[in-house]
Every structure is written in structure tokens, then in C-alpha cells.
């Protein structure tokens, strides 16, 4: 295999490795979340998908479906962005769990709710990134989180454009927290720059 690769050429070994990172990252995220709300949380097995752009927003209930996205810029030995995205209903569940409110409460988010969501996103994304960092022994620095609530297509256009520079597909890791009424479905999207992809895969001993 050459030492440079295209995102479209990711094979099953790469995907398995990214899945494993997703697994450990989501595990850390679940623990962090569980401590935050002081309650045990179940976690489903993360699903890793490589999707065409046009199918990306379908997973989130369609391009017009309202979602919450929390974006962090990633620097250090890996450059790129990381996004944690969840459906608005899941965001409500998460905030209600955190605030100890009735789970059927679907009133509009207050300023306090929004800032709590932003912090949750920060913790979850941070937990994911720290597992990537310890697995690869690479130094990874995350920026402050930026949050936006809007149509899934519009929110996802930001990571999709970053992926768009290297291919026509995006890598999505889906994690389910909790179950039943308390269910929170979250999605991680990791978008390293091309060079950083090579660095990650090299560090994991897959290439070179």
C-alpha cells in the first residue's frame, strides 16, 4: 500500500480500527455522562458507517429535521474537526436527565439548557478525543465547543464540506445512550485533514 491514501480507499481494517476507537471513545463518554447526571447509563454498541453525503442527513431524520450540533476544532499532531450531533428530541432527553426534570418536558430550551448542552457536548467529544489520543499516543488539542441548532442538512454541511475536500463520503459513528424513554442517540463525526488520516493510521501500525 502507498503511504498516501484517499478517504474513498479506506478498507475494512481501517474501519475496524476506527470502530474500536469509536467504541472506547463512546465508553469514556458514557462514563463521563453517567457521572454528570449521577445515574447509570447503558451504552449500545457503536455503529460505524461510511455514507454518501446525500444519505448522511437521512440518518438524522432527513435534511430538514432539527438537530443540535456541537463542533470542536482539533489541533496538535492531528488537525481537523470533531462533531457531536443529536436529534432535538435526544437533546431534550439529555437536558431533562441533567436537570432532573420530567422526561416528557419538551418546552423550549432556556439559556441554561443551551449552555448545559454545550458542556455535555464538550465532555462527550472530549472523552472521544482523549481515547483517540491515548490509543495513538498523539497529542490532540480541542478548541472550545461551538453549538448550533438547525436543519440536519445545514448543520452537517460543515463537516461534509471538510470531507468533501478528500472524498464523497463521510465517516459516522453512532452511539446510543440510555434506553426507552431516556434514550439518547448521538453521532460522532471525526474529520481529520488528509495528512492527519495518514498520521492516525500510521501510528496504529496499519500503514507503512
Amino acid at each position: 500500500m502507498s503511504d498516501k491514501m484517499d478517504f474513498n480507499e479506506l478498507n475494512e481494517i481501517h474501519i475496524d480500527m476506527l470502530k474500536e476507537i469509536g467504541n472506547i471513545g463512546a465508553g469514556n463518554a458514557t462514563t463521563a455522562l453517567s457521572q454528570l447526571i449521577n445515574k447509570k447509563i447503558d451504552m449500545g454498541v457503536p455503529k460505524v458507517n461510511i455514507l454518501e453525503f446525500k444519505d448522511l442527513s437521512e440518518i438524522l431524520g432527513g435534511a430538514e429535521n432539527p438537530v443540535v450540533g456541537i463542533l470542536l476544532n482539533v489541533e496538535g499532531q492531528i488537525n481537523g474537526m470533531m462533531m457531536f450531533v443529536l436529534q432535538q428530541s435526544s437533546a431534550h432527553n439529555l437536558v431533562n436527565l441533567l436537570m432532573g426534570r420530567d422526561l416528557d418536558d419538551f418546552t423550549e430550551f432556556t439559556e441554561m439548557d443551551l449552555s448545559a448542552l454545550n458542556e455535555i457536548g464538550n465532555i462527550i467529544a472530549g472523552a472521544y478525543l482523549s481515547s483517540l489520543s491515548s490509543l495513538t499516543e498523539l497529542k490532540i488539542i480541542a478548541s472550545v465547543p461551538y453549538m448550533a441548532m438547525d436543519m440536519a442538512g445545514a448543520i452537517l454541511s460543515v463537516p461534509a464540506i471538510e470531507f468533501g475536500k478528500v472524498g464523497d463520503k463521510a465517516l459516522l459513528i453512532q452511539t446510543d445512550f440510555g434506553k426507552g424513554k431516556e434514550e439518547v442517540k448521538g453521532y460522532f463525526i471525526l474529520i481529520p485533514e488528509m495528512e492527519s488520516y495518514n498520521i492516525i493510521l500510521n501510528t496504529l501500525g496499519i500503514m507503512g
Binding site: A154, S157, D168
Partner: protein
């Protein structure tokens, strides 16, 4: 009966009246509409990036402002549109996240709008109206019958430009 034709991300489509072209949830991407008012032939491209020459992976012509506009014009001319009669409308190019950074990666919406305008200008295609920038997503519908472009956003009233 009018048919509504969906245009996905990094995709483009053309149609004739009375059909409607739509693209859902435009964020930093730009929806470029071209229209021949006499023949009522229209085209819509949902572009993601400003310039195909800056990107190694540039096979998908609908993904870039420069190549998508060329493809749209060719397809529309083949359908009977006249190039000097074409007019344009633009929507999208938002900055979805309130980054404080001014680097180019973060200004992608703005750069998509700038590139689309520059290319249309070079081709002598007049931009009739636009709803670009700001920080929210847009769903757009273009009516080939009358040239109306409907803009829908979450939490705001729809408008026609």
C-alpha cells in the same frame, strides 16, 4: 401536474415548467439557480466548495461552484435554453457555527457565495436576487413557471425572492 425534483448535496438537476426544483437544508453550501425566463427552463446546483482546481478529488462536477455552473449551462442549452437569456438566483452560504476564527476553513459559506458570484459575473449572467450569509439553514424551492424562489428557514417566515 407539477413535479418536485429534489437536488441533493453536491448534486445538480434541470427541469422545465411547470416543474419545481428543490434542495433541503442548505447550510454553508450554496444553491445556484439558473433560469431562462422565456423557455421556462431552470437548473439548480447544490455546491459545497468554491473551486475545483484547489482540490485533488474533483471528479464530481456538481460539488464545485466553477464546474457546476458550466454543467448546468450546457444541460440547459441542450434543453433549448439560450445562454445570453439566463439569469440567476442564489441562496445559502451561511456560517452555521459562530467561530471567532477568521481562517479560510471557517469562512467557507462566504467563500462559496463569493466564488458563485464571481463566476456568474464572468459569464455575464445577471443575479436577480439572493438570500445568502447569516447563520441559519435554508430549504429552497424554485418554480420554473414564474421564476419564484421560495426560502424556508426554521423559526422564521418563508419568503420569496
Amino acid at each position: 401536474m407539477a413535479e418536485t425534483i429534489k437536488v441533493g448535496m453536491a448534486d445538480l438537476k434541470t427541469c422545465m415548467a411547470p416543474n419545481i426544483l428543490t434542495t433541503l437544508g442548505l447550510g454553508s453550501c450554496v444553491g445556484i439557480v439558473l433560469y431562462d425566463p422565456l423557455k421556462k427552463i431552470s437548473g439548480l446546483a447544490h455546491i459545497m466548495l468554491p473551486d475545483s482546481t484547489q482540490i485533488r478529488n474533483n471528479d464530481n462536477k456538481a460539488k464545485f461552484a466553477d464546474t457546476a455552473i458550466d454543467v448546468l449551462i450546457n444541460e440547459m442549452v441542450n434543453m433549448g435554453a439560450k445562454k445570453d437569456r439566463l439569469v440567476a438566483k442564489l441562496a445559502g452560504g451561511a456560517q452555521m457555527f459562530a467561530f471567532s476564527s477568521t481562517n479560510d476553513l471557517m469562512r467557507i459559506g462566504e467563500r462559496n457565495v463569493e466564488a458563485s458570484k464571481r463566476i456568474l459575473n464572468q459569464l455575464g449572467i445577471k443575479i436577480l436576487s439572493e438570500d445568502t450569509g447569516a447563520n441559519y439553514g435554508r430549504t429552497i424551492e424554485f418554480y420554473s413557471e414564474n421564476g419564484d424562489l421560495l426560502i424556508k428557514t426554521i423559526g422564521k417566515d418563508s419568503k420569496i425572492i
